[in-house]
Symmetry: C2
Subunit: 649 residues, 2 copies
């Protein structure tokens, strides 16, 4: 799609956006504030801008009078970029413009990074854990009447250097007829051992040459959502992807309530059936979408947190939630997928990612493997921010990890008008420091219904930098605007009045909400500090940050650093890998090296229970400020705050 330049005046901020993008999103990208509270449906009519040059689609509304329209005024939220543009934002005074100019920082999202398939190939690592080999066997004669299985073994040994072979009984049962179906020309499927000293399992045999079809499935078993991918093991490509809500949800939102349910009579069996059922739905969908013949699927890799893994494997999770929080196992054996209830052919092998502890599970191990952080020199902070939040710090020499009781604030939980990142959620925000009028950007550009995690961070960060809230998260009581008010003894800011909101009431952000966010980010940050301290290092030693989880792709990095969720670091050094669990499961399907390395990586991952780590609470208390009691940890922010104070003087 064509890109166009949009130049915003009087700030003289230019941004390059795709054709069809709305002007209001272009402005937000440029760090230009436009009053806009209705989320982009043209309801509030506040986002009047003057198109000085170039052309837009739409933007005309009954909220604008004839004269203005003729002059070139449009509603920014309704205008779509269709050429290079010069857009003037009406401001009250030159001071406004100057302030805005200084205050606004362009949105900074993390680079999305995936391990590159080509890199794997170059490194010789693109060796899937399940391979197919085509054999043209000599037919038995009176002189050479060796049994069928040793005939195959012989050919594999002498012509393909394959050793330590073991045949599944189900394969042996097929062999006599399959060998004779196409004159002893067959394709065998070999599942590699997870550990090098293990056996090479011959898991399937088909007549003729079928080596051009070999597929794998990767599954992330999330507490909320189960994602699956169909992977072509010849090309390495993802052929289809699908996500569906984990049907266990009706038995509890989080892992603890699932465990409680699992302890009831028949509870474990029910939860097992539900999650297996969901996985089967996902498999069904990706099989249909990719048009893959299920008989050509060789392996499935699954990753999930410790509770999800145990529920999937039908292992009682009772002791996960009881001190001292002991999971049943860390490593699980490779098994047959159908024995776990999966609707896959009997030959398909299933491997689940191992766990570190009760609260650092296979999803995190998968993320670590998928991101490759355990093989690099750089000191890396890996954060998976979801229903549960986990941190891993380390490099190729050592790894420490822990789970944080961050609470669900980042997913909109515990926030009065919080919501998941769905249509109508305020995901981006700006505020006019003079008028205190908001600029709300919602997912889907509809009337706002609530605030999602990335919106919450941006709102709080922006208000803090503007001095609208202080470093304890309290509103400045001196500000004169109807948008800041006291309701039931709690101060709150009205992001959208009822008449422009998508729900039947005002959309607000309260000091209680802000407090919850501070606790959540404080937990994460103090988690990092504690882990680093335990290994004798500090935040300053971090070389890079890898973000994972549904939370991270849209969130503004600068804002995360403003509230003290992330340590201040060069934005270029922050990458986002999306669903780390799914990524790791996919990488394991593509290269057996990862499968076999998991055990070593796991052995290097030292788990900390923060409840048992004395320094954690001190670090936590210190982090319960914006951004932190120790502003020196955030030098860039410190400098900006100093500049702001100069302007305010």
């Amino acid at each position: 799609m064509t890109e166009f330049n949009v130049n915003f005046l009087p700030h003289e901020k230019e941004v390059s956006v795709k054709g069809g993008e709305s002007l209001i999103r272009a402005a937000m990208s440029a760090g230009v504030h436009i009053n806009a509270s209705c989320g982009g449906e043209g309801v509030c009519g506040k986002c009047r801008v003057l198109v000085e040059s170039g052309e837009v689609d739409g933007g005309v509304s009954e909220k604008l009078n004839r004269v203005d329209i003729d002059k070139g005024y449009r509603l920014a939220c309704l205008s779509k970029v269709k050429s290079d543009l010069t857009i003037r934002i009406p401001v009250e005074s030159e001071i406004d413009a100057s302030v805005l100019n200084k205050m606004a920082t362009p949105r900074q999202t993390a680079r999305i990074k995936e391990r590159n398939l080509e890199d794997l190939k170059e490194q010789g690592l693109f060796v899937p854990p399940v391979e197919q080999i085509y054999l043209e066997l000599p037919q038995p004669t009176k002189i050479d009447n060796m049994a069928d299985v040793p005939r195959i073994v012989n050919a594999l040994r002498t012509k393909h250097n394959e050793h330590r072979l073991e045949f599944d009984m189900s394969v042996i049962r097929k062999i006599p007829d399959v060998l004779r179906a196409q004159d002893f020309k067959v394709t065998v499927t070999i599942a590699r051992p997870v550990r090098s000293e293990g056996k090479n399992h011959v898991i399937n045999i088909e007549p003729g040459n079928t080596t051009d079809h070999n597929y794998a499935i990767a599954i992330d078993i999330g507490t909320t959502t189960v994602y699956g991918q169909m992977i072509d093991l010849i090309t390495g490509e993802v052929l289809a992807q699908h996500g569906d809500f984990n049907a266990q949800i009706s038995y509890g939102e989080d892992v603890i309530s699932r465990i409680v349910y699992a302890e009831k009579e028949g509870g474990l069996e029910t939860l097992n059936e539900k999650v297996v059922g969901t996985i089967n739905k996902v498999i069904d969908k990706i099989v249909k979408r990719s048009e893959v013949n299920p008989d050509e699927i060789s392996t499935i890799t699954l990753a999930g947190n410790t509770t999800m893994t145990q529920l999937f494997l039908n292992v009682n999770p009772r002791y996960i939630r009881r001190a001292p929080y002991v999971p049943a196992a860390t490593l699980y054996p490779q098994v047959k997928a159908f024995r776990m209830g999966l609707n896959l052919p009997h030959h398909v092998t299933a491997l689940v990612y191992p766990q570190v502890s009760s609260y650092v599970g296979g999803d995190i191990v998968a993320g670590v493997m998928g991101s490759g952080m355990g093989h690099d020199e750089e000191l890396t902070l890996y954060m998976d921010i979801g229903t549960n939040a986990e941190i891993v710090i380390g490099n190729k020499d050592w790894l420490v990890c822990a789970a944080c009781s961050a609470g669900p604030a980042f997913e909109g939980g515990g926030i009065k008008m919080g919501m998941r990142a769905a249509k109508g959620a305020i995901e981006d925000f700006s505020i006019d420091p003079i008028t205190l009028e908001p600029m709300n950007i919602t997912i889907g550009d509809v009337r706002p219904k609530g605030i999602c995690g990335s919106g919450l961070i941006t709102i709080v960060a922006t208000m803090f930098e503007m001095g609208i809230i202080n470093n304890s998260g309290k509103f400045n009581r001196d500000l004169e605007t109807p948008r800041i008010r006291e309701a039931d003894g709690v101060y709150e800011y009205v992001l959208a009045w009822e008449d422009v909101s998508g729900v039947d009431r005002d959309i607000v952000l309260s000091e209680i909400d802000i407090d919850n966010l501070i606790r959540a980010k404080g937990a994460m940050y103090s988690g990092c500090m504690t882990l680093l301290k335990e290994v004798g290092m500090s935040i300053a030693d971090l070389d890079r940050i890898i973000l994972a989880g549904g939370f991270g792709s849209f969130v503004d990095l600068e804002k995360c650093m403003v509230i003290g969720l992330l340590p201040e670091i060069d934005h270029e050094k922050v990458t986002f890998i999306g669903n780390g669990s799914l990524l790791g499961a996919r990488m394991s399907s593509l290269t057996n090296r990862i499968r076999s390395d998991v055990g070593d990586t796991l052995a290097r991952m030292t788990n900390f229970e923060f409840s048992e780590t004395a320094s954690y609470m001190d670090n936590y208390i210190a982090a319960l400020f914006l951004p932190h009691t120790d502003l020196n940890l955030f030098p860039k922010l410190e400098k900006r705050l100093a500049e702001r104070q100069k302007i305010n003087i």
Copy 2:
């Protein structure tokens, strides 16, 4: 039981027998002929003997007159030994006595030999493939909250030097609750790998210390009969044993007819169900008899011929009966017993003995392993004579083997009045060289119903040595006795007239029967010669013979050598191991060394297909005489025949 000496006159042959033994069996043991055709029910009244000193129980019959009874005459078949005795056999003349004296050879049966458990213990080989280890684990604390499985692994590694451990999923599922049932005191059951480089599978976990109970089952899957034993892995003892007819019998008597049935729609499934059902019946019986708790059974080892093994494992045996006679596999993986349909707890591992070829199966490999012949210096001939007949020759350096198309003559098949070794079968025989009157000994001492394998051999051998039949198996046409007659153009000898037989007709042995026996023994003998020739050796090089199979315990070795079934060898060098298949299965349960050695032994067993071995037919033709065209191969017999000729002159 007390032993008594019985001295038979005028032969002056003495024998020591158990109290209660019948006089007629005592005479047979001593090599003393007494006319007796009715099998010992006192019907023919011909076995009159005079008790000169000592006392017998019974023996008085209406067949004897008052005067004779008063003189001390008794019927030998009805008299039981109850003291030392002097017994006079009435003979027609002194010549009779002299001839009898020379002709009769005392019965020589093979020494029954089993590998000694004490020997195994001394050699450090009594290490069952499944072991139990009792663990007292440290309980998890806040500081040490390692997961359950690694906690067990740690203890096994550090305190018991156990490595390469893999846990079954079913065990992992039990672990959390079992660990906490008795304060982290548990017993784990470890199944050793068949090959040393394999994994140690943890297959069960129980609360507390259960190491004093550990059991194994050994099964011989015979075409006709399934035998099972319950083995105590602590003491090595057999606690219970049971045999039952293979329920497949109604689908065919031999392996070929079973294969034919298996090729029909649903046939394989039916035969699989039948044999699994029989094995389950046997298991049920030995579990009840031994009063073993099935949960304490750890492993089951099964051995059977190639067809039985494939039918048990549900592997299509179609190609076993089609040239070039290819079995599906030789080695099969260790599996879970319940997955094969066996009524055993889920943790029980099952291992089947491997096959050499389509007609040298796991039963033979088991016999070779059980007998230990593959570890000894001596050149050994192993013969398993049953529904199918197999030969193995070799020692610790090499082994050659083959199946013989001997036919079922040794089990009474193809013989007009042939029968299995059951009640009423003539199992031993002697003949008066002058009168040509028979002495029939039947199983159960009842009226004769037919002739079993050992009886057939003894009858033919005796008649041959007496000159009643010639070396082609034809009756001497010059002999005058109503017992030798021509019926429907075929000469036959009447062993028992209808009035004393247990069936509604005469019991006879015809020249066709003799011819069938000659073909059967010729096949076996020429098999030995052919195998030996293939390795550049001869019959004279054999150091010992091991007999296996239902056939061998009662058969008279001397008679086997007279007909040329066995090479002439010192009787002391012939041993009988009974059911070699069951023996091997039991030995495998007692010592993992045997399990792991099987693969090597198998690799050393060179199979010959006689249909493809040019010299076999020549050897076979040469063996179609009594004992053989080349009498020099039987020097002892040659000498006796020469002596007989002197007497006859």
